[in-house]
Amino acid sequence: MRPSAEAIADLALVVGAIALGIFLLVTGVLLATMWRYRLRPGAPEPRQIAGDLRLEIGWTVAPLLALAAVFVLMLGTMREIGASLPIAADTDRIPLRVTVVAHQFWWEYRFDGGAVAANELHIPVGVPVELDLVAADVIHDFWVPALAGKSDIVPGKTNHLRLFARQPGTYEGACAEFCGVQHAWMRLVVFAEPEPEFDRWLAVQGAARQAPAGEAARGEQVFLRNVCVSCHALRGTGAAGNGAAPDLTHVGGRTTIGTGVLRNDAAAMRAWLADPQRYKPGSAMPLVRLDPGDLDALVAYMESLH
């Protein structure tokens, strides 16, 4: 088994070569004609030819043959990718199932067993991962080019996509269907890691928050006192959220904030919490006014949530 992106790349290479061949052939003839038959002094009056049936048949049939070849190749690739998802039992491993909920403008990942993560997905290397794609509001699209092709995520419908990573690594992608004002910052990132590492990550995502200490503990109080809890869930604190904002239980463990718009560190977290609309105007995360002391505590708390 290999990532469907690889199968598609192979196909695209062949089809691209055919297209390039046709392009070179036709432009070659075009340029040669232009050169050979350009107006020259003394050139005779051209012969007036109405057409040629054999030629017409020839250049109708030849493209048909090329297309037939392309078509057969296409079927092969579609079969390999398993166009008829969800996957049957053709794999040697029981696939991992993840429900992906696309929101304006962030990602939610739900695992069997209750683990919930937001914005950053980890997958085990060498294990097929079956994504059930559902939309919370408008149409989005899940696209990590190095792993697989796209699938739209359509309200009222569950689509499926299979990810498979051969190599550990960080695979970037993006929401590819225009979904509103912050479509640009609905980035995707998938970390493929060896299975034990993945299992550890998954266990963490399933657990409640790490109990905070010191400044961070004060930050938790700030968090619970403020409007944050009306949107965000933070397991272990009683904050259940409203389902329309990322789960923050392990927000400190992510590499980015705001679905890709900022790199995750204390300074960026401070900037984000101080004015999210500055970095992601139009996202649903509002500006919540906090005094600087509270803000510092909140930042410390967020960054402690690994």
Binding site: F23, L39, M74, W143, S151, A176, G282
Partner: protein, 542 residues
Amino acid sequence: MTTAEVAAVPRQQAGDRYALWLRTVDHKDVGILYLLTGVAFFVIGGLEALVLRLQLAAPRQGVVDPHLYDQLFTMHGTTMVFLVMVPLLIGFANYLVPLMIGASDVAFPRLNALSFWLTLFGGLLLYFSFVAGGAPDAGWFSYAPLAERAGSATSGVDYYILGLGVAGAGTIIGAINLLVTIALLRCPGMTFGRLPLFVWMVLVTSVLILGAYPAFSAALVMLFLDRHLGAHFFDGAGGDPLLWQHVFWFFGHPEVYIMALPAFGIISEVVPVFSGKRIFGYRFMAGSAVAIAFLSFSVWAHHMFAVGLSTAENIFFAVSSMLIAVPTGVKIFNWLATMWGGRIRFTVAMLFAVGFIAMFLIGGLTGVTLAVVPIDWQVTDSYYVVAHLHYVLFGGTMFALFAGAYYWWPKMTGRFLSERLGRAHFWGTFIGFNLTFLPMHWLGVQGMPRRVYTYPAGVGWEGSNLAATIGALVLGLATLVFLFNAARSLRGAPSAPADPWDAWTLEWATTSPPPTHNFEAAPAVRSARPLWDRKHPDLPDR
């Protein structure tokens, strides 16, 4: 009232002159009004594109805010499709069809003027949105549920619905008019087998318009009801958002051939004349257009390969999309065969025609790669599609329109365009165009989605984006050269004879510009090239 007569009206009556343009029902004047409207909107849509390009020149720029960016790309696409391509093509059709078939006007001159005014009014209505709280911001195909009230809160989408509804009504009426004109007003001897290919293309295009636009009107009505009466057609809560896509693309795909076939027609006029040879395979040229038209109603879901259709559906639409390459290829090959063995005069019109063949070829071939379902899964909704659509629409249709502009300008104005400036325009356009859109293929393959107002640094997209922006500026400058050329020509004295290019179709049998009733005497037509027969009595076409 023709332009020549209009121009002859003394200066102090300038007011009257404008009034005449308002009242005119002459097909030539209406044609020119369409063309002027198309050019004006091209400048507007082009400037919108320039803003998009400036914003994307480098990562994380703030030239425009995200919401304005969304309005600008929506308006850019909508303008170019509905207010540039369609008016320019219908403008040429209006001006040329009656002349080419030896008629004195279209079948319904007043209705013709009405079509134009509806189109213009629709366009103004669309643009009024900018001052009425915000332009449409859901893309040129306004996918639901983003285009529903919940997804797009300003009244922009309402103006999209009303503006395109009105302009679309104008287009439908125009198509009826052209169709009846071609069916009934052909002069004696002008059989269907002798129609200039441009007229053939207009005929097929009219049929496409009549088959496709009403579906769009219906979709607009339903979207409007969703937004204003709380109906549930496409809202995703009961209603199915994919139905919007089906109906839209049932219209939208034929629409792209509505924008392509008349361009093919222009090329089929220009290439033979400047090659000094009759068109190769006339009947295959006409027949392939009919084939394209038929097929174009059965390919729409190739815009929806990623939405999760069944495998059988995907395969069906992939096959019919690929099949369109066959009749389109027939056209390309016949143009080449026409040039082969000819005596090619590289006027600016011919340069654009040759540029068309090469650029459209690239766009067509990338189109076929998109029709291969798994490839589309990778590159749909990425800049690869943006590259494809500009290669066919700009490299294709727009190049053809420029070819037509240089070719028929003397006929319409009685004046010549400077060939020197024209060459500068051509090379500027050719180089600028490829610099803008060629790198976009690569951007798409690298993973850059379309319709993003900015992008992260360090993922390898900077160089291509910068190149595209520079290319767009070159394109803008080249367009300025064209506009300058046109203005300069109009200030000069009339100098064009009736038949400056040694051409063969009937429009060249009358003065430049033609008198109000087009022809003094009924032209004699015994073949597809009546003027050739007149010039070569020894060697007439069969």
